[in-house]
C-alpha cells in the first residue's frame, strides 16, 4: 500500500509539474496571465505530492516494509532508528526522491516570495524552467530510478544500508546539506534562463536571486565541510579529502558558485561581465548535474558511487539539453549582452574580482579535468589512467595560494581605481604582518614553501580584516560615543554583505591554515603491539591494553583498548575498532580520535585482532584538524550575517553615485562612514 501511495504521489506530482509547465508556457506565449497564475499554483501541488511520496518512503522504512525493493536493499530490522530515517538518502532512488523534495521546496519558496510578481514574464519564465527541471527528476523516478519498485518475493529481513552509511550520525546531516546546496542553484539558473528568454539581461535577475544563491552556497559549503568531517571520522585512512570523484563533484559547483558570488558584484556595481555571470550560473547548474552523472551512473570508480543504473544516459541527455540550450540562448542574446561598463584601472576592486574569477575558473577546470580525465583517456585511447591526490595537490596549491593572496588584498581596493597612497594606508600594516608571519614560521623550522606562503598570506588576510573592521568600529564609536559591542554590532549591521563576507574570509583563512598545518606537521606510524607493549609517536605514548568484542544484531565489533599518554599524563583509553556487518564481506574500520585544539591523535585498528594478544594499530598525530570544522562554522556564520541584509522584495542594488573611490571603509573619520561594498 505504501508503495502504491508513494508511486501514485510521484505520478500525480509528475502530472502536476507537466500541467504547470503547459499552463505557464501557454500563458506566456498567448499572453494569458490567468494561465500563468494557474501554473504557479501547481508548484505548491507538486510540493504537496512530493511530501506525500517522501512520507510514504519514510513510513515504509520505519515499518521495515521489505516488499519495496529500495527498503529491502537499504534497511534491515536491526538498523537503528537514525539510520532507518537516513535510509532515504542511502542509495540512488531515495536520493533522487530527496532531490525532488528539496527542489519542490525551493520552487514553492520562490513562487511564494515572488507572489506579487507572478505574472512578470521573468518570474513566469523562471517558474517554467524550475518546473521543467522538476519534471525531469520526476520522470527519473517514474523511469529508471523508481524508489517504489515492489519486489515479487518479500525477504524476511532487508540487507541494511551500506556499512559506511550506518556508522556515524553525521550521515544524517551531510547529504541533506549537500543537496540543499546542489538543488538550490536551480533557482539562480532558472532566473538566468528567464533573463535570456525575456531579453531582460540587465541586473534584475541578479537582484532576484542573490539571496537564494547565497543560501545554496552556504548549504553547499556546510555540506562539503560536513562530508570532509564524516570522511575523517568514519573512513579511517586519516585524511578528510581524497580528491575522490564524489568529493570533486561537490567541489566543482562550489568553485563556480564562489566565482559567481564575487563577480555578480561587478555586474551589480558596474554592469559588466553579463555573459560571464550567466555562464557561471549555468555552469554551476550543469556541474551539479554532471556531478550526479559522474557519481550515480557507475562510469567512475569511487568510494561512494552507487553504480549501475540506466540513469546515466538520462542524466547525460538532460545535461546536453541544458548546456546546448543555454549556450544557444546566450549566442542569440549576444547583442543585448554587450556590457555598458568598462574597467578603469588594473588596481581596482573589479580588476581584483576578474583575477579572483580567473583563479576559481582555473581551479574548477583543473578539478573537472582531473576527475574526468580517466574517462576521456579510456574513451579516446582505451587507456586506463589514474588521477589522484598528487596531481590535484600540485595543481591546486598555487591556485589556492593565488586566491588567498587576492582575498587578502582585494578588500582593500576600491571600485574604479585606487591610488598608491590609499593602497599603502590600507595594506602596508597587514602586508608586514603577513611578511613577519612568514619569517616567524621559517625561523620556527618550517621548510615547506607552500605552507610558509600560506601562513604568511593568512596573517596578511587576517590583519587586513581586523584593520577594516577596527577602522569602521572606531569611526562609529567616535561619532556616536557608543560602547565597543554596540558599535561593532551596528558597524556589521550597517553593511551585512560586506562584514558577512569578511567573516566568511576569516573562515577560509582558518581552513587554509589548518590545511597547511595538516600537510606539513604531524607524524604517522603503523605498529604491531603485544598486549602491554607501548610505542612512542610524536610526543605521545600508546599502550595496548587488550581487546573487546561486541555483538549486536546490526554488527559485530572488535576493538582494541589503547591507553594514550603524553609526558606521563594519561589522556585516556581509546578504542579503535573494526566492525563486520552481515551484508558486507570485509570489515569496516572505525578510528578513535582524541581531538585536541591543535593536535589530534588518530588511532586506527589496522588488522582485525584474530588473537587478543597482538594487534596492528595505526597512530597518527594530525595537526589542526579541528580548525577545519571551526573554519567551516565561521564560514557558515559569515554567510548567515551576509543574509541579514535589509529585506526587500525588490532589492534595488544599482550603482550608487560614484563617490571618491571607496574601499571597505574609508579612513577619513566621518560621522557615518560611507557604507562600502560587499565582498561576499
Amino acid at each position: 500500500m505504501k508503495a502504491t501511495i508513494g508511486f501514485l504521489a510521484i505520478a500525480l506530482g509528475t502530472a502536476s509539474a507537466a500541467l504547470g509547465v503547459a499552463n505557464i508556457a501557454m500563458g506566456l506565449f498567448r499572453g494569458r496571465p490567468d494561465q500563468i497564475r494557474t501554473g504557479r499554483r501547481l508548484v505548491f501541488i507538486v510540493l504537496a505530492f512530493t511530501i506525500v511520496a517522501v512520507g510514504a518512503m519514510e513510513w515504509a522504512l520505519l515499518t521495515h516494509d521489505f516488499s519495496i525493493e529500495y527498503v529491502a536493499d537499504n534497511n534491515a530490522r536491526a538498523t537503528p532508528l537514525l539510520f532507518t530515517i537516513t535510509g532515504l538518502w542511502a542509495s540512488l532512488e531515495g536520493s533522487i526522491l530527496l532531490w525532488a523534495l528539496i527542489l519542490a521546496g525551493y520552487l514553492a519558496f520562490t513562487a511564494h516570495r515572488f507572489r506579487h510578481r507572478a505574472t512578470d514574464p521573468r518570474v513566469a519564465w523562471a517558474t517554467l524552467v524550475g518546473l521543467i527541471v522538476a519534471l525531469f527528476f520526476f520522470a527519473l523516478m517514474l523511469g529508471p530510478a523508481n524508489p517504489f519498485t515492489v519486489s515479487t518475493t518479500v525477504p524476511l529481513d532487508g540487507a541494511g544500508p551500506n556499512p559506511l552509511l550506518q556508522n556515524h550520525p553525521l550521515m544524517a546531516f551531510h547529504p541533506p546539506m549537500l543537496y540543499l546546496g546542489y538543488v538550490g542553484f536551480t533557482i539562480p539558473f532558472s532566473f538566468a534562463i528567464a533573463a535570456l528568454a525575456t531579453g531582460r539581461v540587465g541586473e534584475g535577475w541578479l537582484a532576484d536571486t542573490r539571496r537564494t544563491t547565497l543560501v545554496a552556497w552556504g548549504f553547499l559549503t556546510a555540506g562539503i565541510i560536513l562530508g570532509a568531517w564524516w570522511s575523517y571520522e568514519v573512513l579511517g585512512w586519516g585524511g578528510f579529502w581524497a580528491w575522490d570523484p564524489v568529493e570533486n563533484a561537490s567541489l566543482l559547483p562550489w568553485l563556480t558558485a564562489t566565482a559567481f558570488i564575487h563577480s555578480l558584484m561587478v555586474q551589480e556595481r558596474r554592469g559588466m561581465l553579463r555573459v560571464w555571470n550567466l555562464s557561471l550560473v549555468i555552469a554551476t547548474f550543469c556541474l551539479t548535474i554532471l556531478g550526479t552523472f559522474l557519481t550515480r551512473s557507475g562510469v567512475l570508480n569511487s568510494v561512494h558511487a552507487f553504480s549501475d543504473s540506466a540513469i546515466g544516459s538520462w542524466l547525460l541527455t538532460f545535461l546536453g539539453l541544458v548546456a546546448g540550450g543555454s549556450i544557444a540562448l546566450i549566442a542569440w542574446r549576444a547583442d543585448a549582452l554587450r556590457a555598458p561598463g568598462r574597467i578603469d584601472s588594473a588596481v581596482s576592486r573589479e580588476a581584483a574580482f576578474l583575477g579572483n574569477n580567473l583563479a576559481f575558473a582555473a581551479l574548477a577546470f583543473v578539478v573537472l579535468l582531473g576527475t574526468v580525465f580517466p574517462l576521456l583517456a579510456e574513451a579516446l585511447r582505451g587507456e586506463q589512467l589514474s588521477v589522484g591526490e598528487p596531481y590535484f595537490d600540485t595543481m591546486a596549491t598555487p591556485i589556492g595560494l593565488a586566491i588567498l593572496f587576492l582575498m587578502a588584498a582585494a578588500p582593500a581596493l576600491g571600485w574604479r581605481a585606487t591610488s598608491g597612497e590609499v593602497l599603502t594606508r590600507r595594506l602596508m600594516v597587514p602586508a608586514w604582518v603577513g611578511g613577519l608571519t612568514m619569517v616567524v614560521t621559517v625561523v620556527a623550522g618550517t621548510r615547506s614553501l607552500a605552507a610558509v606562503v600560506a601562513f604568511g598570506l593568512a596573517g596578511f588576510a587576517l590583519a587586513g580584516v581586523a584593520r577594516s573592521v577596527g577602522v569602521g568600529v572606531r569611526a562609529r564609536r567616535r561619532a556616536d560615543e557608543e560602547g565597543w559591542v554596540r558599535a561593532a554590532t551596528r558597524t556589521v549591521m550597517s553593511n551585512p554583505r560586506l562584514y558577512g563576507g569578511l567573516v566568511v574570509h576569516v573562515g577560509v583563512v582558518i581552513i587554509a591554515v589548518a590545511l597547511a598545518s595538516f600537510a606539513t606537521f604531524g607524524a604517522k606510524r603503523e605498529v604491531r603491539l603485544e598486549r602491554g607493549e607501548s610505542v612512542d609517536v610524536g610526543s605521545y605514548t600508546v599502550t595496548f591494553l587488550g581487546t573487546d568484542l561486541e555483538r549486536t544484531a546490526q554488527k559485530t565489533t572488535k576493538s582494541a583498548r589503547l591507553r594514550l599518554e603524553r609526558g606521563g599524563d594519561v589522556l585516556g583509553v581509546y578504542a579503535p575498532s573494526i566492525s563486520t556487518f552481515p551484508n558486507a564481506n570485509s570489515g569496516i574500520g572505525t578510528p578513535s580520535v582524541r581531538t585536541g585544539l591543535f593536535e589530534d591523535v588518530y588511532l586506527t585498528l589496522v588488522s582485525s585482532p584474530s588473537e587478543s594478544e597482538r594487534v596492528t594499530v595505526g597512530v597518527a598525530v594530525n595537526s589542526m584538524v579541528l580548525w577545519l570544522w571551526i573554519g567551516g562554522g565561521v564560514m557558515a556564520a559569515g554567510t548567515i550575517v551576509a543574509l541579514l541584509a535589509v529585506r526587500a522584495h525588490e532589492p534595488r542594488t544599482r550603482a550608487r553615485p560614484a563617490a571618491a573611490p571607496a574601499g571597505p571603509v574609508d579612513d577619513t573619520p566621518s560621522p557615518r562612514p560611507e557604507p562600502a561594498e560587499a565582498t561576499v
Binding site: R342, G355, F373, L385, T394, G435, A655
Partner: protein
Amino acid sequence: MNPRARNGSWIALGLVVIVTLWVAARPEPGTPSVRDRVRSVSSELRCVDCQSQSVAVSSTSSARAFRADIRRRIEAGESNAEIRRAYVETYGEFILLKPAGSGLGVFLWALPVVVVLMGAGGVALVLARSRRQPRLTATEDDEALVADAREHP
C-alpha cells in the same frame, strides 16, 4: 607617510619576503631517509584495492605489502624512478596517481596552463581595451539613467 618612506617600506617588505622564501625553499641537508623515500614513492602510487587513496595513506594489506616492497627495493639500491617504472610494467599507468607528462598525460598537465594563460590574456585584453577608450565622466543623473535602462531594457 611620505612617498619615499612608502616606497622604502614596500621594498623592505619585498626583500624580507624574498629572503624568507629563499630560506624556506632550500632543500634540507643530507640524503633523505629510507622512511622519507618510502613515503614519497608510495604517496604517488594508487592503492589497488581502495578507490582514490594512495599506497601511503591506505591501511589495506595490499598497501602495506606495497610499502614493504618499496622499502625492500630502496634497500636493494633502486632509485625512485626505477621503482615507479617497475610498478608501471606490472600494473600499467593505472598505478600512478600522478600521470606522467608523456602520451595522453601531456593534456592533463598542459591544458590547465593553456586555460590560465588564455584567461589571463583575456583579462589583460579587457583592461587594455578599457584603458584605450576615452574616459567619460558620468554625472549622478547619468548613472541613475543607465541603471534604470539596465533594469528595464
